[in-house]
Amino acid sequence: MKTIIFKTASSYLLPLLLLFAIFILLRGHYLPGGGFVGGLIAAIAFVLHSFANGIERTRGIIKFHPGFLMPIGLSIALCSGLAPLLVGSPFMTGLWYHNPIPVIGMIGTALIFDIGVFLVVIGVVLTIIFTISETI
């Protein structure tokens, strides 16, 4: 599938899809979307790039092993769960900053948890895809 059209398109689609993934991530919680779907879309952006340019080029963009995103994402999610314990509330209680921030919207521990999920999903999907395409 190394046609010139696909190759050119993929280099424009990668940032667009990543932006869309972040949009979906921020849109979550009250509306359809969230960390899991956002993570899948972000992973698909890289998968598309690797189809067009080969797996080695995509690895070159990411710079580090995507599996490393899993513990980072998990620790972000764990921290969002632990944060309420500092103010004496039970584990996983939602803490919210009262004033909404432009563009991003409401900020709270639920968003941080979603960011954790986002990173874990990207890490898992890319690890699986890279491992499978290595063995083929």
Binding site: L78, P84, L85, P90, M92, G94
Partner: protein, 508 residues
């Protein structure tokens, strides 16, 4: 009493697993972190059981949503005791793994998955919500799927297919039962269910749901006739993994049975009859099966089944004394079974085989090790005053009170069969003159290991043997804890009030 920190055993295991994932490629750091964090978890669980025994039941509502709508975590004496036992076995197996698990397995994430498994176990013990219990069971079985297939040897994969199929089936039955229960009552909180189920008029439907739960947990804890997957799979993975499976995974099924059948479904005559007959058949099949096996790991696998039957028998009699016996036996069995599977690991490293017929001459060549092996083996048989003995006193006593003479006979007969099996094992492995076995190329023998790895394989066995001896000789303390738990299993009002707040008279 509300205390958000009771969830620490779960969170700390998750933290450990995440920390280990950061050290994915560094196997020596992983070993060190695993042991240190297991020690800290042991400290946390000792703290937890101390505050629960001193101050009563502690509760936290995850996310701050009040019961019965949110997810409740309850630390009562039974769950904190199970967490303490998990931490002790977890520490022992963690040390044992550093010596016995091959580098190839560690490279593919053995330690992180091991700690995810312990997290699932701790979560299942703390869960106060039946759907949450299901979720923790899923975490446990997914981690155990990875552990049982890690390494990908042919026998391992064959065993794991049986294991995976039966456990998925059990999950489906369990989930169906939850769905029906939710349809009947409209609640998932176990304390709330306890009140609501008692008020349902259609007892037939309640009994059907109870049977579904019994089947679901029955497959997981391997009771007759749903036990065939256990002896077919537990002898295939490396000894460290067998140890944690044999010690804890079936016992979490027994824990769930104890919880559900004392809190939600109070067994009527029909249910106690069903449970008693299942217990009788489980004891007979397990102990008779162990008698004819030659592979020492298969012998212990069959004995797990037989001894699960003992614990179910305590539930079947449903008197306070019988439940005290079951709790005591649970404590003893977790420690001893973990220990025995580790002992088989050492035997394999020394001789390169699990076959009882080929083994032999242990007392001549390794007298100290044989004496060490004697502790778990004779504890398992229950030779007084070792730990397996005391629970049987309670069961036989309540068997006579409930006039369940057949069950008493089977209990005694089962113990006799265990004795015969263990005597045979002792005679074949320890006393018989052994021939020099041909060396195998793909086995790394004990004397080829580094001294630190040899120490790491012996220390946990010594540790758990000491715990076993304490359970036997310090039985007074264990019995007083078991009595406390037994009385709380019969009178569940403290549990319900801790979760839902003080009850007013009309609700009851």
């Amino acid at each position: 009493m509300s205390n958000p920190y009771i969830i620490l055993p779960v969170i700390f295991q998750l933290f450990t697993a995440i920390l280990l994932m950061f050290f994915w490629t560094k196997k020596n750091s992983q070993k060190l972190i695993s042991i240190i964090c297991s020690l800290i978890t042991l400290g946390i669980s000792i703290w937890l059981i101390t505050i629960v025994l001193l101050q009563g039941i502690h509760v936290t509502q995850a996310g701050g949503w009040e019961a019965p709508f949110g997810i409740t975590f309850v630390a009562d004496p039974l769950s904190t005791l199970m967490i303490l036992l998990t931490s002790i076995s977890g520490l022992a197996v963690s040390i044992f793994s550093t010596g016995s698990v091959r580098n190839a397995r560690i490279k593919f994430g053995y330690f992180p998955i091991f700690h995810f498994l312990l997290m699932g176990l701790n979560g299942a013990f703390l869960a106060g919500d039946i759907f949450n219990l299901y979720v923790w069971f899923e975490i446990i079985i997914i981690s155990s799927f990875v552990l049982i297939t890690l390494g990908g040897e042919k026998a391992q994969l064959e065993g794991s297919i049986k294991y995976v199929t039966m456990n998925l089936l059990a999950s489906v039955v369990f989930l169906t039962a939850i769905a029906i229960l939710y349809g009947l009552t409209g609640s998932l909180n176990m304390a709330d269910l306890s009140i609501r189920v008692a008020n349902i008029e259609n007892r037939g439907l309640v009994n059907v749901t109870a049977i579904l739960f019994f089947v679901g947990f029955g497959i997981k804890s391997a009771v007759f006739p749903l036990h065939f997957w256990l002896p077919a799979s537990y002898h295939t993975p490396p000894p460290a993994i067998s140890a944690i499976f044999g010690g804890l995974l079936t016992k979490v099924g027994v824990y769930a049975l104890l919880r559900v059948f004392t809190l939600i479904f109070i067994p009527d005559d029909f249910m106690t009859d069903v449970i008693t007959w299942v217990a009788i058949m489980t004891i007979l099949t397990g102990c008779l099966g162990a008698l004819v096996q030659n592979n020492i790991r298969k012998i212990f696998s069959y004995l797990i089944v037989g001894h699960i039957g003992y614990m179910i028998a305590g539930l079947g009699m449903y008197t306070e004394a019988a439940l005290v016996g079951t709790i005591f036996y649970l404590i003893h069995d977790i420690i001893v079974k973990t220990n025995l599977f580790m002992v088989t690991g050492v035997i394999f490293k020394l001789k390169g085989t699990y076959s009882m017929r080929n083994l032999g001459g242990f007392y001549k060549t390794y007298p100290k090790l044989s004496l060490l092996m004697a502790v778990p083996i004779f504890s398992l048989v229950g030779i007084p005053p070792l730990s397996g003995f005391w629970a049987k006193v309670f069961w036989i006593e309540s068997g006579f009170i409930t006039e369940n003479y057949l069950l008493v006979f089977v209990l005694v007969f089962g113990s006799f069969l265990t004795l015969v099996t263990m005597a045979k094992l002792w005679a074949e492995v320890v006393w018989k003159d052994g021939d020099a076995l041909p060396m195998k190329i793909n086995v790394k023998y004990f004397w080829e290991l580094k001294p630190i790895k040899r120490v790491a394989m012996i220390v946990p066995i010594v540790l758990l043997s000491m715990v076993s001896l304490y359970i036997g000789f310090g039985a007074e303390h264990i019995i007083s804890i078991s009595r406390l738990i037994g009385s709380q299993l019969i009178d569940t009002t403290p549990y319900i009030e801790a979760v839902l707040g003080p009850l007013n008279a009309e609700v009851i």
